[in-house]
């Protein structure tokens, strides 16, 4: 991406810059989502006064204050905790978030690694976080944490399947697993000969989109699928013993993953960074700048849907949660794949 500047800066430097961008992107995305939805949208929906007050205008200072609070908290580790695992667990959770961002394209050349199996890779690394969750729950030496971690493990296994199966329809239709390829397919497609809108896959894969959103909500352990953290019964589940900066890591992991899943959904179903009408090949530099903004807008829309559900619904019970995944989502996803396959062959 940097040869546009007519500089030859070697692959090591390029890799370093890309790593820095991804490293900056996760906390930044988490902050944006945390600020926009957790603080502002929730305050408006729930008539909360607190987060709208600090700092004068619209409570802009609240997030800064929260950050300072987390940083100055004492770092407490339970006496019987498995110290190394306990310290490592938050890093593992955040790591999986970082890895997802590697493949999401934000412009013709704005992508860290343009993998041929991008979809497969993104869904695979996103489920790595369950290892961190299990580590956290086990190492905390706390019964609530163990219950939460085991619930998280069961839940993530159950909802990984509909998540993957929902995307299979997209892959069948676009005949590629490369995320740039999927974006190109949606940009260049036509709906009954009308090419003005491009061909966002939500038009044909609306079932897949709905399944993806439900499963992503469960992967993020957000209400109505927040059994693992259930603050009214398990207090905070696997995070119960974490304080200060380590807790902040879980927080960043949660919201960063929400950002990543919203990015995936926007790329897979809503056309990604591309805008119909215009061909990005004309001016690649312009689209390297505009593309991320377009993607950001779509990400915020998808995240809005996620957080809307989060602030509206109560929580399912663990067995009801499993029943929903195995009895409804997975069969529907399989039927969707079947229908997509049949239609693909027929047309």
């Amino acid at each position: 991406m940097f040869n546009v500047l007519a500089l030859d800066i070697g692959w090591v430097t390029t890799l370093g810059i890309k790593t820095l961008i991804v490293l900056a992107l996760v906390p930044l995305g988490a902050l944006i989502l945390g600020y926009t939805f957790l603080l502002k949208m929730m305050s408006h929906m729930q008539s909360r006064l607190g987060p709208m007050d600090p700092g004068g205008f619209h409570g802009w200072y609240q997030l800064v204050g929260d950050g300072i609070k987390f940083l100055q908290k004492e770092d407490i580790m339970p006496e019987q905790a498995d110290r190394r695992v306990f310290a490592l667990a938050p890093a593992v959770v955040v790591l999986s978030t970082f890895l997802v961002f590697v493949v999401i394209p934000a412009g013709p050349r704005i992508v860290v690694a343009d993998l041929d199996v991008g979809v497969f890779y993104a869904l695979a690394v996103s489920s790595l976080s369950v290892i961190g969750v299990l580590m956290a729950g086990w190492a905390s030496a706390n019964k609530y944490a163990v219950l939460g971690a085991l619930r998280a493990a069961a839940q993530l296994i159950a909802y990984e399947l509909p998540l993957v199966l929902a995307v299979v329809g997209v892959v069948i239709q676009t005949e590629t697993m490369n995320l740039q390829g999927i974006v190109a397919f949606q940009h260049g497609g036509e709906i009954f000969g009308f090419g003005g809108l491009g061909f966002p896959l939500i038009v044909t894969q609306f079932v897949g989109f709905a399944l993806f959103m439900v499963a992503a909500q469960a992967e993020l352990t957000q209400p109505p699928f927040d059994m693992p953290v259930a603050e009214s019964e398990l207090v905070a589940g696997y995070m119960v013993e974490y304080t200060g900066f380590r807790f902040l890591f879980f927080f960043i992991g949660e919201f960063g993953t929400a950002f990543a899943f919203a990015g995936l959904a926007a790329t897979l179903f809503l056309g990604g960074w591309a805008v119909p009408f215009v061909d990005p090949a004309d001016n690649r530099l312009l689209w390297d700048i505009v593309g991320p903004l377009v993607l950001f807008g779509k990400v915020m829309f998808v995240a809005f849907l996620m957080f809307w559900a989060r602030f509206t619904y109560p929580r399912l019970r663990e067995d009801q949660l499993q029943a929903l995944a195995w009895k409804w989502l997975i069969p529907i996803a399989l039927i969707n794949i079947l229908a997509t396959g049949v239609l693909k062959v027929a047309f």
């Binding site: 019964e233 602030f311 619904y313 399912l316």
Partner: protein, 395 residues
Amino acid sequence: MTTTPPRELPEFDVDSTIYKHLADSQMNVELDTGDMILNIGPQHPATHGTLRLVVRLDGERVIAADPIIGYMHRGYEKLTEFRTYPQITTLINRIDWLSSFANEVPFIAGAELLMGIEAPPRALWIRTALTELSRIATFLLFLGEMGLQVGAITPAFYGFRDREYVLNLIEASTGGRFHPNFNRIGGIKDDLPWGWIADTRECMAKVLESCDTFEDLVVGNPIFEQRTRSIGIIPAELGAGYGVSGSNLRASGVDWDLRRDGNPHLPYDQLDWKVWTHPDGDSFARYWVRLQETRESARMVLQLIDGLPSGPIMAKVPRIIKVPAGEVWVNTENPLGEMGYYIVSKGATGPFRVKIRSASFSNVSILPWLLRGVYVPDVITILASLYFILGDIDR
């Protein structure tokens, strides 16, 4: 006399199947995870304070639950023996701190009965209005709180917000948001302030609207129904046997309300209202009944302020209150259930002995029976739907 020879000890080359079997049983023992004992409380967000539940779990299923109370015992029954009658209302305000005003009413009514004083009608009507207002405040909090315990945060904030309007009314008339300490033997402390009636009318409209919101947001939510329907069913006879009272018992289909069936010492018989019951007896029924009762109370308050009689607010009461010797039992329908005081007087300025029957104590006594065999998330739903206040359990 013959004795059977002692059996020979098995030698080393015994049938290997025995050892196989032993190995199997060993394996079973290793795979059996055993029960886990989980302490829910005394510091736990779902227990509203310091109730402790020792729960024996098999996986997520509760085998046995044991409520342990007493972390908040403040000895009010003993303390009343060292206070004068007007001082005691300060204490009993703090038994059920969400509906403090309703706590005062039966005690004052008991003292009035012993002294043979009758409060003037205006005082009684204002008492009734404030009792119903504190009922609304308590139930609005419940309607939100239950949503929170089931996992939805939004209703909790709505509940707190709307309760604030009602608390403002109580504060405007009594001067206290939580602990009004407003009843006096023979009447009430002050008359209503200017503009209170208009404010109340406005506020009751808000409360009715808020009840509709809860009906849409919580009762109409399929996940909420899934979480509460047929969870924690209290059969009517069993509930009555345990002493469960109030909305919890009415949700089991028992048509029994002390405001209508007992002597409430308040003019409920002059109002047009209805006792709500639900046949199911589960957590959902308890939520539904309280929602209807909130509406009913708001309608009652509207009737009360419309028909408020004029006249004095205090009867003629001696300057130093001495209650003649005697015993009296007064129980009324508090927001949490039946609350009663047994007052024994020996003719002094303070009571000789007071026994306080608080609703929550009996309501949580059914927990060991009710929690057997449910899942951990249902424990929280059942606790929330029984709706107890720790001060009301431990006194």
